[in-house]
């Protein structure tokens, strides 16, 4: 069943359109991440779902109801804000029970609901404290407690971890995901951090400039990005791109860069030969092949060992690329070497449109 559905949703501020017809559906109980760079419209979209921004045109449905014109309080949602937005003059228990109080729920029932949520989140000893007496992680938990205490139809999270330090962020990431699994409540989670999106979400919506670039499962986006933007945005370190032209000769198909370097390619049907493309490979898909005469010749320009892996910056003709190696290497800056990649791990994009080129390989 669809829990949340957006159909050609547009948003304009006066004459400036910032959301250009966004459509996607979210199944009941799914955890969906909205990702994209700053200013892509993901937070605006979340606020439109919450009812904090008006919808210029299109339709937002929560369950079976069109909620475009409903005030936030009637949408059966709860939201966790980036700065937590805890009421500073209320205790943790009062913060968590406020929504129920507004609905006219009896005090004893509120207490029971708050106690249950506090128990789930380990907040029981903090119920009498004020937000100013809590650490960042505790505030984050209280904000989540406030959201879950109402048992809403949809949870909305607006970059809830961006104010925490790196270690706490990883811990809270796990906690939010575990909580969502336990409660099975449909969740929309906005983040600019693609790692957060990849690790937490069942489905990712990648946005840019008020448009949806791709919707899919995390590994599908990673394995088959629809366009250059998604390919570059998903994955860290980012995918390497080199522009060139598809060529074919007796040795097989290849992409020749503008400065004449031959990059490997699966055997390509004749109609594609001569096509201008962007050749893309993820850093972790390269392998060192110093002794292979047909591998890509590179010059090492930087070596960054992190212990478990080594990031090697290389130059291929005039282009820069990053190679991620799991093994330790004896490479030094200035060394000449060769790298190779399996043709099935190569992504091709149309240079003019940026769209993925699905070329059926010749057997």
């Amino acid at each position: 069943m669809t829990a949340l559905s957006l159909d050609r949703v547009r948003k304009s501020f006066r004459s400036l359109e910032v959301m250009h017809g966004v459509s996607f559906d979210i199944e009941d109980g799914a955890f969906v991440a909205l990702v994209g760079p700053s200013g892509c419209g993901k937070s605006t979209l979340l606020r439109m779902i919450a009812g904090l921004e008006t919808v210029t045109s299109g339709e937002i449905r929560i369950g079976e109801r069109v909620v475009n014109d409903l005030p936030p309080k009637d949408r059966d949602i709860s939201m966790v804000f980036q700065n937590y937005a805890l009421y500073p003059h209320k205790t943790v228990a009062e913060n968590m029970g406020f929504a129920l109080k507004m609905r006219g729920v009896a005090a004893t029932e509120i207490e029971a609901h708050v106690a249950r949520a506090a128990d789930i989140l380990g907040l029981t000893p903090l119920l009498g404290r004020f937000p100013r007496e809590l650490s960042g992680g505790q505030r984050q938990r209280v904000a989540m407690g406030r959201a879950i205490v109402r048992d809403p139809q949809v949870f909305l999270f607006d970059e809830p971890l961006s104010n925490l330090d790196a270690k706490l962020r990883v811990q809270m990431r796990g906690e939010i995901k575990a909580l969502q699994r336990r409660l099975c409540t449909t969740t929309v989670y906005v983040t600019h951090d693609q790692i957060e999106a990849m690790t937490m979400a069942d489905k990712i919506v990648v946005m840019r400039d008020g448009r949806v670039e791709q919707v899919g499962r995390p590994l599908d986006l990673y394995d088959r990005p629809d366009n250059l933007f998604v390919a570059g945005f998903i994955g860290s370190p980012a995918m390497n791109f080199v522009a060139g032209r598809i060529g074919a000769d007796d040795a097989g198909s290849h992409v020749t860069t503008d400065d004449g370097v031959r990059l490997p390619l699966s055997r390509t049907p004749a109609p594609f030969v001569g096509h201008r493309v962007v050749w893309g490979v993820r850093p972790e898909h390269f392998a060192l092949a110093a002794a292979d005469p047909v591998a890509i010749p590179v010059t090492v320009t930087g070596v960054e060992p992190t212990g478990s892996e080594t990031l090697v910056a290389v130059r291929v003709g005039a282009a820069s690329m990053t190679v991620l190696l799991r093994d330790r290497t004896g490479l030094n800056v200035g060394d000449a070497s060769r790298i190779t990649v399996s043709p099935r791990l190569i992504h091709l994009f149309d240079e003019a449109t940026g769209d993925r080129l699905d070329i059926p390989p010749l057997s």
């Binding site: 919450a50 009812g51 904090l52 005030p71 936030p72 309080k73 949408r75 949602i77 709860s78 939201m79 804000f81 980036q82 700065n83 937005a85 009421y87 500073p88 003059h89 406020f98 929504a99 507004m102 609905r103 406030r146 109402r150």
Partner: protein
């Protein structure tokens, strides 16, 4: 190191004590004069300390003059005018802090401009207006004028407070089940309490101390306010210093009580408003 840290503090302490003495001296002199026997008040050379303490001047002020009526009138007008100014200004300031609309800047500048006009410049128009509207010599007329007078400054002060309350708090409240107005009353107002109290004290002080408007628009004994009451102890045949000082001390009491109760909020309020910018 500790000594060098402390030395400047002694200097500050000295300056503070001198400033307090400078500010308190007239009040101390007034209180002591009010407690002197009538003959000693005008004796020459003057003595600071009375030969004996007496409440005779206070008794005379309270039983032999209309001062209790003035006092009651002032309490009434100040209380209502402060409350109405605050109610209007709180809503206006919130609107100006949270919403963008055409003419907002002009409106704010207009408000500022009106509070720059000296009271005496519009005294005659106010007098004429109050006669024509039937509000001359009425408490309603006084309350309306004082309220209008207080609003611009209060709006400016409170707008800063509302801007310093994160908008997400209201949004969270709206998602939690509040309408915008309920979010304002339940979440924003309690957070802006220091600003509101600071504003209330400023408004109260203005109304309580004003002589010009009260003297012009309230002319019968049953409508007069305290500043006129103090002025009435100065007559053609002389000044009754003992009673004047006693009345002054009585008129200080509500202000001092308000300050003592609210001083913590007042300092915090004025500081927070200033820092916001």
């Amino acid at each position: 190191m500790a000594a060098s840290d402390r030395r400047p503090r002694y200097g500050l302490l000295l300056i503070s004590v001198l400033a307090c003495l400078f500010a308190a001296a007239p009040i101390v002199w007034g209180v002591l004069t009010a407690l002197k026997p009538a003959a000693e008040v005008v004796s020459y050379p003057p003595n600071l300390m009375p030969s004996r303490f007496t409440l005779e001047s206070f008794r005379q002020v309270w039983s032999d003059s209309n001062f209790p009526t003035y006092f009651r009138n002032s309490l009434l007008v100040t209380g209502i005018a402060t409350l109405t100014s605050l109610v209007v200004a709180v809503h206006a300031a919130y609107g100006l802090a949270r919403f963008d609309f055409t003419g907002k800047t002009s409106l704010m500048l207009g408000l500022l401009a009106t509070s720059m006009i000296p009271g005496i410049a519009i005294l005659v128009p106010l007098y004429n207006l109050s006669i024509h509207t039937g509000l001359y010599n009425t408490f309603t007329g006084l309350v309306i004028v004082y309220t209008a007078w207080n609003i611009p400054l209060l709006v400016w002060l409170l707008k800063g407070f509302f801007e310093s309350v994160p908008v997400e708090l209201e949004e969270a409240a709206m998602i939690d089940g509040c309408s915008r107005m309920r979010a304002f009353y339940t979440i924003v107002l309690p957070m802006a309490r220091p600003g509101m109290l600071a504003g209330a004290i400023m408004a109260m002080m203005f109304v309580w101390n004003d002589f010009l408007i009260g003297f012009t628009l309230a002319v019968t004994e049953d409508k007069r306010l305290i500043p006129y009451g103090l002025y009435s102890f100065i007559s053609n045949i002389g000044v009754d210093w003992g009673q004047l000082m006693a009345a002054t001390v009585i008129s200080l009491v509500p202000v001092v009580i308000a300050f003592l109760l609210l001083q913590k909020w007042l300092v915090q309020g004025l500081m927070a408003g200033a820092v916001k910018g």
